[in-house]
């Protein structure tokens, strides 16, 4: 039996220990804000936080979860919006939106570590997250704006 928390709630799991967290979240726990894009840590659509750090949930097996706390997009802000989500809305980043929850999760974890990032630092931190619609320039602008707001 594996014990962990998702968005603050305790959970247990005794299914296939190799199942990636992504599919547990989506198919079993019903947190569908976390998306499937590649299954190989190549796109970032499945990004969630494990103990506050951004991880690709498609590549974290359930057996690695013991005692850790997972946060998904649904757990970012129960009421209202996180400054990163607000910046995303003000700058009107999304097109189709499919990659955006992963982008937001990546950006939130990054901004915890770097409060005043340069363009280049943002580019490095965000380059694991693909956006086929092509919203990269807006994502960068939104991260700068959120950093300012959070300062």
């Amino acid at each position: 039996m594996i014990r962990f928390t998702v968005n603050g709630t305790e959970r247990t799991y005794d299914g296939d220990p190799e199942m990636p967290l992504l599919w547990y979240l989506r198919d079993i726990a019903g947190f569908t804000g976390t998306k499937f894009g590649c299954g190989m840590s190549l796109c970032g659509a499945c990004t969630v936080h494990q103990n506050g750090e951004a991880v690709r949930s498609c590549s974290v097996a359930m057996k690695e979860l013991e005692g850790t706390s997972i946060t998904t997009i649904e757990g970012i802000s129960a009421t209202g919006l996180h400054p990163v989500q607000k910046a995303w809305m003000e700058i009107k980043v999304p097109q189709c939106g499919y990659c955006q929850t992963g982008q937001i999760m990546q950006a939130i974890a990054f901004l915890r570590q770097n409060h005043n990032p340069s363009d280049q630092q943002i580019d490095e931190a965000m380059s694991g997250n693909l956006c086929r619609c092509g919203t990269y320039q807006r994502i960068r602008a939104a991260i700068h704006q959120a950093a300012k707001e959070m300062a």
């Binding site: 190549l42 092509g134 320039q137």
Partner: protein, 745 residues
């Protein structure tokens, strides 16, 4: 006859909506077809429902086009809301199911706004007039004394107002006014059109609540992952599922028959693993062993095929446009310049892979899918399962990107076929590998260009030939020549050249060919605008100046139009004044000519009209001593006529620069013995934030011309402008896409 209908009054909706709800519909089947439809299919003559106002004031507007990131689900309801004078912040949007009553629902070809703008204005304005009539009757005043403010009819003289909800029951009883009696707002009266409104789904997207196809569910559903034939058209010889069935969570395996050609949008065939969750289905599939039959498509090798295409393009082909006499001009023996260009297959690779949920029950099918074309879902499932089209109900979720792939609903048909075998709802989830390997690929293409240039460096003759497997091969196994693709930047060259001929050569398809964001414009614009720049260099002229000379004086370019194209051509003539204007605008905004090119730093330009929109792009590149390329800036000027949502237009054009950068720099699909070599984002590469253009600036020409396309037209000029910049920076002329095929140092 009026095509706006008061549906509440006609009693179509018995019991379906609360009493007192005012409901308007519109017939979107084109008027010339009305008589036929009335005779043959009177059901279809019922209007599609577009607007309802409940007595509690709730206003619901139907989005009948799919949302894949281009904004049509927001833009069209916004147009209704503006003319209705509704309070946009309180409007709800209902996504239409697939239904022929809505007319064309295939959200492709960048035409949602341009095809439905007038109709949606008419729906909203009609509602507004009827609400005014209802209020005026209540107050016993003249209608012309009444006006509206968002959500209310107002009688200023007596300082009275009534909300739309209070008026809905009365409006529901009124006759629809004649079109002549429904004034549309003047542009200055628009509250929402032309302003920076956010996408309707934005709050749901950033909080993870938005429902994409990947998130659709049905009670009791099982999950399926399908092992498709590696080569198009292969059938199963035998298969061994013993190991698959041992995988925890796997319930059973089922087969899907391989299509009979032409493949159309039918399932590819294969072995499906049915499981309790997606992961188990994927794992079970890895444990499957399938023996495949042979297929004639196993002969396909894209490397060899390239040679075939290139030699076809060197030969005379079918003439698709002819002006003057190029041969006579070439025979004069002046200076001749020739060049050849090649572009590979591409995959759509939308971030959401193909996915669908469907349930077959008692001869009826219910599906939820991220589809660009819910009516194609109905048609495909109807033909594959032998049910009636009307017995297929297709709900449309949000689409996690589509780019043309999701006009083809093969995966929805797979879910329906499996559900029929299983007797329960099935969710089919494609892996990224499935998506990349079993796409309807953007076609490979070879182009041959030849020009005779006069002493002033301007061409006196211009011949262009193109060859590629046509999209028509999806519907007809014998299709060899392009059809609609010719209008995508090939038979409508806007240059002022006395002798010009455009040709198309034949080619066979061995993989599924489909349309991808801007389609044939991609390789056509690549060849035309790279060649134009080559001529500018040969003439020792500035590229922008030369391009303007090629475009020539402001005029309407005379083009042939098929009977069904004439209306559009009248409304949207090819106007070189507009093309010149975007070139001049982008040159000015980019500071063209102010900083010199060369030594690893360069600027390139291209201008192209696609989907009736004029776009000019300048790209700046930096190439370091290792040959690494950066794109500091992209400037784009766009004239797309009347704009409903300017910020969304900017976002689309920015996105097009990134989409363009992926295909210009990195992306390529190759095929060996009929099998696609790429499988995921490690070998089918897309630009990322660190390789994408750093800054993208978009300039929109103010225009009151009719609205044109937005989702696609930003893509075609990017690649040639980028390659022209590479040439300016390094002296290397790029004749093959993507850039990664060429060694820069």
């Amino acid at each position: 006859m009026n095509n706006i209908q008061n549906v509440s009054r006609r009693g179509f909706l018995k019991g379906a909506v609360a009493a007192g709800t005012f409901v308007l519909g519109a017939r979107l089947v084109p008027e010339p077809l009305w008589a036929d439809i009335l005779n043959d299919a009177p059901d279809l003559f019922q209007p599609g429902i577009f607007l309802s106002i409940a007595s509690d004031g709730t206003i619901t507007i139907v989005a009948h086009r799919s949302e894949m990131g281009c904004g049509s689900r927001t833009a069209l309801p916004l147009v209704v809301a503006d003319e209705l004078d509704a309070d946009w912040s309180k409007v709800k949007i209902d996504q239409a199911i697939g239904d022929a009553k809505y007319g064309d629902q295939d959200t492709d070809g960048s035409h949602s706004v341009r095809s439905f703008f007038d109709q949606m204005r008419q729906v909203g304005a009609t509602g507004r007039v009827m609400l005014i009539t209802a209020a005026a009757r209540k107050w016993r005043v003249a209608e012309k004394e009444c006006t509206t403010e968002p959500g209310f009819v107002v009688h200023k003289a007596s300082a009275r107002k009534l909300s739309y909800g209070e008026l809905s029951a009365a409006a529901a009883k009124l006759r629809v006014p004649r079109k002549e009696d429904v004034p549309l707002k003047s542009r200055s009266e628009w509250r929402y059109i032309g302003k920076d409104n956010a996408l309707f789904d934005l709050p749901d997207i950033v909080t993870g609540k938005a429902t994409f196809g990947m998130d659709a569910k049905m009670p009791g559903m099982v999950y399926a992952s399908i092992e498709h034939p590696p080569v198009l058209g292969q059938k199963i010889k035998s298969y061994d599922d013993k190991a698959a069935l041992k995988v925890r969570g796997v319930k059973q395996t089922l087969t899907i028959e391989t299509f009979k050609p032409p493949h159309h949008f039918q399932p590819l065939g294969g072995v499906a693993v049915i499981a309790d969750d997606t992961w188990a289905a994927f794992q079970g599939r890895k444990a499957l062993k399938v023996n495949w039959d042979t297929s004639p498509n196993a002969v396909y090798n894209s490397d060899q095929f390239r040679k075939t295409l290139e030699s076809t393009a060197r030969q005379p082909g079918k003439v698709v446009r002819n002006v003057g006499d190029v041969d006579a001009e070439f025979a004069k023996g002046g200076k001749i310049i020739e060049a050849e260009f090649y572009a590979p297959h591409l995959a759509h690779a939308s971030m959401e892979p193909p996915v669908a949920v469907a349930e077959y029950r008692d001869g009826k099918v219910l599906a939820w899918a991220p589809t660009q074309s819910p009516q194609a879902v109905q048609e495909t499932i109807a033909s594959v399962l032998g049910v009636k089209k009307e017995d297929v109900t297709c709900h449309v979720t949000l689409l996690g990107g589509a780019f043309g792939r999701k006009s083809k609903p093969d995966q929805v048909a797979e879910a329906a076929v499996l559900s029929k075998q299983l007797g329960k709802p099935v969710k089919v989830v494609w892996t990224r590998e499935d998506d990349i390997q079993f796409d309807f690929f953007h076609s490979v293409a070879a182009m041959y260009m030849k020009a005779a240039v006069g002493p002033d460096g301007k061409p006196t003759a211009w011949l262009q030939r193109t060859a590629y497997p046509p999209i028509g091969s999806t519907f007809d196994v014998n299709a060899k020549y392009a059809d609609d693709e010719m209008g995508l930047g090939w038979n409508n060259l806007p240059f002022d050249i006395p002798n010009h001929r455009a040709e198309n050569g034949p080619a066979d398809a061995h993989v599924r060919i489909g349309w991808l964001r801007s389609v044939a414009n991609i390789y056509h614009a690549f060849a035309i605008h790279s060649f134009a720049d080559e001529l500018a260099n040969a003439a020792n002229k500035d590229s922008v100046q030369y391009l303007l000379e090629l475009i020539g004086p402001p005029r309407i370019v005379p083009l042939k139009a098929e009977p069904d194209e004439q209306e559009e051509q009248k409304r949207y003539p090819l106007d070189t004044a507009r093309l010149r204007r975007v070139v001049e605008m982008v040159a000015e905004k980019s500071g063209w000519g102010k900083s010199p090119s060369g030594k690893g730093h360069g600027f390139g330009v291209a201008a192209h009209r696609a989907f009736l929109t004029y776009v000019a792009t300048v790209v700046e590149v930096e190439v370091d001593e290792k040959g690494q390329v950066q794109i500091p800036n992209v400037w784009t000027a766009v004239d797309t006529g009347t704009v409903v949502a300017p910020d969304n237009v900017r976002n689309q054009i920015e996105g097009a620069a990134n989409f363009g950068a992926s295909l210009a720099l990195l992306s390529e699909i190759t095929v060996t013995n009929g099998v696609v070599n790429q499988s995921n984002f490690n070998d089918y590469e897309l630009v990322r934030m660190n390789s994408a253009p750093k800054h993208t600036s978009v300039y929109i020409v103010e225009s009151d011309a009719p609205p044109a396309g937005v989702g696609e037209p930003g893509v075609p000029p990017f690649a040639p402008a980028f390659y022209n910049a590479i040439h300016a920076a390094t002296g290397k002329r790029i004749r093959e896409m993507p850039l990664s095929k060429t060694q820069l140092v």
